[in-house]
């Protein structure tokens, strides 16, 4: 059976019919907040239940509770605060109880019912969420750039966001129906922000071996410079699935959500989100959602011990490497051979080869995938 939504009910905050028309008209008269791409994506994710049980941006009690306890104030696991930052002007002009229009690219996309406006300490936030206050960390850097107040309250979406990858946009309601129609009872979800190499394929297929279906769900949206562009990731996966996966056992769709690079906390967040899509299992990688050397390689595994009530089973699959003696992709648990036989797939090495226009060897990346990636003059985010 697919997972129940986090908190028991799939949230839907979408205006329709006359109510929507009325709100669209009224939005022009309301105070206005312009959203970044990431915040607009958060709005849509709330509205479509990706962030169930959240019905809007966090109020102060929930915000403090998430920061301190990694749980909402009702004790439900929640590790990454979903917050909307506003400036001094907003605090001066808007009162609690007001309605404000949330704009993206000059169009109203949602109405926010302002429950609370409160201040936050960005350094404390960085310390708790990212375990560092170093502005060299991309998540910390973004935090320090945000405005000085947070506004919390429920929202309702009045307009869908434009999605360049519409063909691959599925919401939790849709994936839940999809999994049921396919007769999948055990679904392993895979989160990614990379083009697939052989290590990823090994991990995914290891999970698929003892589940009914594999749900590959890459993040699209803001990523740090040096990461692969969204289109490259999608095209690379299209090639991999076409040539190497049993189609009836794989579902591929994209999720517009910003990477926070918050390591262990973000790993739990990624699991909760995939639970809402209906997944029963979640693959937690080595240094999941990490960046640089801010987190230990398996720190994201340890944090799951604190959540016996998560409602989705983490799958800890060890890092895969090619062993010349075994003659295939293996991991430390199943390969007895010494290091000299092992070829590790390093993301950095792979990026370097691609930048130089060199086709990675087949034990690192499938040739069909490599061809797709190399067909882009510049496959990286800058």
């Amino acid at each position: 059976m697919v997972s129940r939504p986090h908190g028991g009910r799939l949230v839907e905050r979408l205006a329709s019919g006359r109510a929507r028309e009325r709100l669209l008209k009224e939005a022009g008269e309301m105070p206005r907040v312009d959203l970044s791409e990431g915040l607009a994506a958060d709005v849509a994710n709330v509205a479509h239940g990706v962030y169930s049980p959240l019905e809007g941006f966090l109020t102060e009690e929930d915000f403090r509770s998430v920061l301190e306890n990694m749980r909402l104030s009702n004790d439900l696991p929640w590790t990454i605060p979903i917050v909307l930052d506003v400036g001094e002007e907003f605090k001066r002009d808007v009162r609690e109880g007001d309605e404000v229009a949330l704009f993206y690219k000059d169009r109203p996309i949602a109405i926010l019912y302002v429950e609370e406006i409160y201040s936050w300490n960005k350094e404390e936030y960085a310390k708790k969420i990212f375990k560092t206050t170093d502005p060299g960390h991309p998540g910390v850097k973004k935090t320090y750039q945000r405005k000085d107040f947070l506004v919390g309250g429920p929202l309702i979406q009045i307009e869908e966001l434009p999605e360049p990858f519409e063909r691959y946009r599925l919401w939790p309601k849709e994936t839940r129906v999809l999994f049921k129609e396919r007769g999948w009872k055990r679904i392993a979800a895979f989160q990614t922000r990379n083009v697939p190499h052989r290590g990823h394929e090994y991990v995914q297929k290891a999970a698929l071996t003892f589940t009914d279906g594999l749900f590959i769900n890459p993040l699209v949206g803001w990523k740090k410079p040096g990461d692969f562009k969204d289109e490259v990731i999608i095209k690379a996966y299209e090639a991999l699935i076409k040539h190497y996966y049993p189609k009836e056992s794989v579902a591929f769709s994209v999720l517009r959500m910003e990477m926070r690079y918050a390591g262990p906390r973000e790993a739990v967040h990624h699991a909760i989100v995939r639970k809402n899509f209906g997944a029963t299992h979640f693959i937690v990688g080595r240094d999941h959602a990490g960046v640089g050397s801010y987190y230990g390689p398996y720190e994201a595994w340890d944090i799951f011990k604190e959540f016996p009530d998560l409602g989705i089973t983490p799958l800890f699959v060890r890092e895969a490497f090619y062993c010349k003696k075994c003659g295939g992709m293996v991991n430390e648990k199943i390969c007895p051979h010494p290091e000299e036989y092992r070829i590790r797939i390093s993301g950095t090495k792979l990026r370097k080869m691609i930048t130089e226009g060199i086709k990675p060897p087949e034990y690192m990346m499938r040739p069909e995938v490599a061809e797709v990636v190399l067909s882009y003059e510049d496959p990286f985010v800058h």
Partner: protein, 70 residues
């Protein structure tokens, strides 16, 4: 975090203490919280409602077919 108290039989408390010690939990209270959260989550799962109407399901199936998922 704010706290509330619940009462358990002394015999159960002794068992909690022994298991907590053996499993490396900080104290019996920490183990009790861990077990309660796990058990409650399972019960809450059973109580949860699906929330998709038959008409909606049909509409979604059509979209999924159109996109090639089904």
């Amino acid at each position: 975090m704010e706290w509330s108290e619940i009462r358990v039989p002394k015999t159960l408390y002794s068992r909690l203490s022994e298991v907590a010690k053996a499993m490396g939990f900080e104290d019996p209270n920490t183990l009790a919280i861990h077990l309660l959260r796990e058990a409650l989550a399972a019960l809450e799962e059973e109580l949860a409602a699906e929330g998709i109407s038959e008409d909606e399901r049909k509409e979604i199936i059509e979209r999924l077919k159109g996109l090639g998922y089904l």
